[in-house]
């Protein structure tokens, strides 16, 4: 025996619940992405372009930590033989962690645990 009425009520309830995030956020304004404040010493060049960094910094840093910690390599040949070092190479210039790192990470709800251990001047919050 089909309980059509009950099934229909259940379906409507399910659909309402499932699509609730869309209804609840209708009309809410979207928070604008934060502007990355780049503070770099004059004359110093970045290893990669800003666009490439924005897109790939997590892969680059992940690769760096693997080759430097596990393979003992200290030079990145893809970056023109640059010395591998997140702290020496990046944070010395970009020493404004709150604007340079945290702003975007907070916006995208990413919680990298770099700062649990790395504590150079630029890594201080």
């Amino acid at each position: 025996m089909m309980k059509e009425k009950e099934i229909m009520i259940g379906l409507i309830f399910f659909l309402a619940l499932f699509t609730a995030p869309f209804w609840l956020n209708v009309g809410n304004s979207v928070t604008a992405a934060p502007e990355v404040v780049i503070s770099a010493a004059a004359g110093e060049e970045c290893l990669f372009s800003a666009a490439e960094m924005r897109e790939r910094h997590m892969q680059i840093l992940d690769e760096w930590r693997t080759v430097s910690v596990r393979e003992g390599k200290t030079l990145d040949l893809s970056a023109g033989g640059a010395h591998i070092g997140f702290e020496e190479n990046c944070l010395t210039c970009h020493a404004n962690r709150e604007e340079f790192c945290d702003a975007c990470h907070a916006y995208t709800a990413v919680n990298p645990d770099c700062w649990d251990c790395h504590h150079s001047a630029g890594a201080k919050s």
Partner: protein
Amino acid sequence: MSGKKISRRRFLGLGGAILAGTALLPAFGAALLPPGGGGQSVRYGMVVDWRRLTAEDIARMSRACHEGHNVPAVTEPGHEVKWLWGESFDRVFPEWEAPYAEDPRALSLPVLCNHCESPPCCRVCPTEATFKRADGVVMMDYHRCIGCRFCMAACPYGARSFNFTDPRRYLDEIRGDYPTRALGVVEKCDFCEERLRLGLEPLCAEASGGAVVFGDLADPDSAPRRLLAANFSLRRKAELGTGPNVHYLWRGVEADA
């Protein structure tokens, strides 16, 4: 493959040629290896002339190490974090009984990770967070450590410490550039890997006033190898087959024998 047939004579001839080639490979094999590779290998090790070290010397070495690597001074019993510390003779060499010698508990020796040849810690690590480098250093990759503490159970020397609490809580001051560790990882001595990169000797050797000699044990002319050639020495629990690379000189034993 086509149905081309190979004669028995040719098959046996090729087999013989392969056999002859394999037999000759050791003689000419070196020419096949890429240049610069193989051949020269480094095996870092340490010789401790512990008779020259007082408890104060060991405390100084330990302090230099712990300050240089931001090792937290955790005081809760069982939660201490140590990379290099002093231990009494009867605990460093429990198998060496000397009932009529001077009180073995009064003798202090520096102990640290032995950077074993076949490290049991690396064998049990499920994530390969600890691994043996080609130069002999038993490294820790804190990024990968999941804090299972298998390595601590496997290490026969108790050279590993676990961070039961946030280590920064126990650092009155974070010194230098060496990173701290995070809650829930295992840490230990890494032979001052960050200094070896720069061609410097480890901090403990520097603070020992010459009583700790560090170098390449694969090189027969290195300072530690010359010391080991001229003196009797011991390694901790060598009978376990881990191949420790920290040697303790036994000066004076030749005269007594």
